[in-house]
């Protein structure tokens, strides 16, 4: 089964550790470069919005973090499914590695959204926007999974509990999103309409299209750094880890 070789290799912490060592510098520098270019481009060289002035420029941080924060949850849930189905050690490590990074990105998306909301909507936080509320719930889901990890003394049980919980969350996220959407549209006054994103001008879109892959790469690099810690922690008594550390 040569075609499955890549999958079986993923299950080896040693192989993964070597791959991370090889790829991390490239991913980290490419991500940082893309983020710097897109942020400088977006902050200094795009025209100001005719309605929002310069305040819209936070979009170049807000949208990429929000997109990656949501995607990170699904990647984490896939790791959870792999861990439940194949009992793969590396999937558990990935789940543990992604949770804090995803939570941090969600937090960033919430903060930048609130900062953006003040000049645009006149308030840091409004409940009329379903996306804000669902991001907050997503943040709570991340925190719950991290708390579950920490609560178990035995890390194997903690991994399984967190994997189950991440799958439960996956089923629930669309339901939560749709119900919050319905709830907010029932209460939403007609004066508030947020349709900027669908009608974004090309000059404003270009840096954003750089920033989103930049944020993805940065996310991958951050997860790699976390994974390295997880691998070192769980493989500390193996021969190859001792050799790698030069002991």
């Amino acid at each position: 089964m040569a075609s499955w070789q890549w999958f079986h290799r993923l299950g080896s912490p040693k192989w993964l550790s070597g791959t991370i060592d090889r790829w991390l510098p490239w991913v980290l520098s490419a991500g940082t470069l893309l983020l710097i270019i897109s942020v400088v481009w977006g902050l200094a060289f795009t025209p100001p919005d005719y309605k929002q002035g310069n305040s819209f420029r936070i979009i170049y941080i807000h949208v990429p973090t929000a997109v990656v924060a949501l995607a990170a949850y699904y990647v984490m849930a896939i790791a959870g499914a792999v861990s439940i189905i194949w009992r793969m050690k590396v999937a558990d490590m990935a789940l543990r590695a992604i949770a804090p990074v995803g939570a941090a990105l969600t937090f960033l998306a919430l903060i930048t959204g609130a900062i953006w909301g003040k000049p645009t909507w006149g308030a840091y936080w409004i409940w009329q926007d379903a996306r804000l509320t669902s991001m907050l719930i997503l943040f709570f889901l991340y925190l719950g999974i991290m708390a579950l990890h920490d609560a178990y003394q035995d890390s194997a049980s903690g991994n399984r509990a967190a994997a189950i919980m991440s799958l439960v969350g996956t089923v629930n996220i669309p339901i939560i999103y749709k119900s919050v959407d319905w709830w907010s549209s029932l209460h939403q006054p007609a004066s508030l309409k947020f349709t900027e994103e669908s009608t974004i001008a090309t000059e404003m879109l270009q840096p954003l299209l750089l920033a989103i892959p930049g944020a993805y790469l940065f996310f991958i690099a951050a997860v790699m750094l976390q994974l390295r810690v997880q691998i070192a922690r769980s493989e500390k008594n193996t021969q190859w880890m001792a050799e790698r550390s030069g002991l």
């Binding site: 719930i137 709570f140 719950g144 579950l148 399984r160 629930n172």
Partner: protein, 234 residues
């Protein structure tokens, strides 16, 4: 494997009924199991009214949200005990090892627990309407909404209870895990109460509640069984 002889003639619901009756019997021996959540709910509603103020219109404006949040907390806090006693005395392990379908066993346990905690909270609906100034015409809708809603809360909360059963301090962690998942239930539940108070059509929200209940009933036992297995390492 060969040591387990499954009785081919035992009807599949025999274990379900036996477990349901056994759990109900155990719960009924202690008055606290059904009384405490109800008293908790009534006390927190009292505290809410004290916090909001005695103005009847302000109270009935917030009634739907208050009732649902309080019912949610009452059911959630009582769920810590759902599997704990069975975990402590080893009967949970027997349950997991038995050849009976685990799905039905879990269903029986949740149903028994709901009879003792959810149902009293539902039956006390007329009291909430008195305390919060909800018109009496809305009481049947309030009760029906809570009837289905409390089922949703029990099923989802049981996931948290199962995932934390082997931990010494489950209470707050159950809250952290399950409160985000309660969002749809509380939205449609309080919407249902509000529709009843305002005289809006009830069917749309009711079908959402029913759909959530069926979804929770079908899917949550999968996660619950996973959590219980993990507590026993089987």
């Amino acid at each position: 494997m060969s040591t387990i002889h499954r009785d081919e003639h035992a009807p599949i619901f025999a274990a379900f009924n036996a477990l349901l009756l056994r759990d109900l019997r155990v719960y009924f021996r202690y008055r606290g199991t059904w009384l405490n959540p109800l008293v908790f709910v009534l006390m927190v509603i009292t505290l809410f009214t004290l916090g909001i103020g005695p103005d009847p219109s302000a109270l009935s404006n917030h009634a739907a949200g208050i009732i649902w949040v309080v019912a949610l907390l009452g059911i959630m806090l009582s769920l810590d005990a759902l599997f704990r006693a069975d975990y402590d005395d080893g009967s949970l392990e027997q349950l997991l090892l038995s050849p009976q379908p685990l799905y039905l066993s879990v269903l029986a346990k949740i149903l028994a627990h709901w009879f003792i905690t959810g149902l009293p909270i539902v039956l006390a609906s007329p009291l909430y309407s008195l305390m919060l100034g909800i018109p009496f015409s809305a009481v049947p809708a309030l009760a029906v909404g809570l009837l289905f809603g409390s089922g949703i809360l029990s099923f989802i909360g049981a996931i948290g209870a199962a995932l934390t059963v082997s931990l010494r301090s489950g209470g707050l962690l159950i809250a952290l895990l399950t409160l985000p998942l309660y969002v749809p239930a509380i939205i449609f539940g309080s919407q249902f109460v509000e529709s009843a108070i305002e005289g809006w059509p009830l069917m749309p929200t009711f079908s959402m509640l029913l759909g959530l209940l069926i979804g929770a009933m079908v899917l949550s036992p999968l996660a619950i069984i996973g959590g219980l297995r993990l507590s026993q390492d089987v």
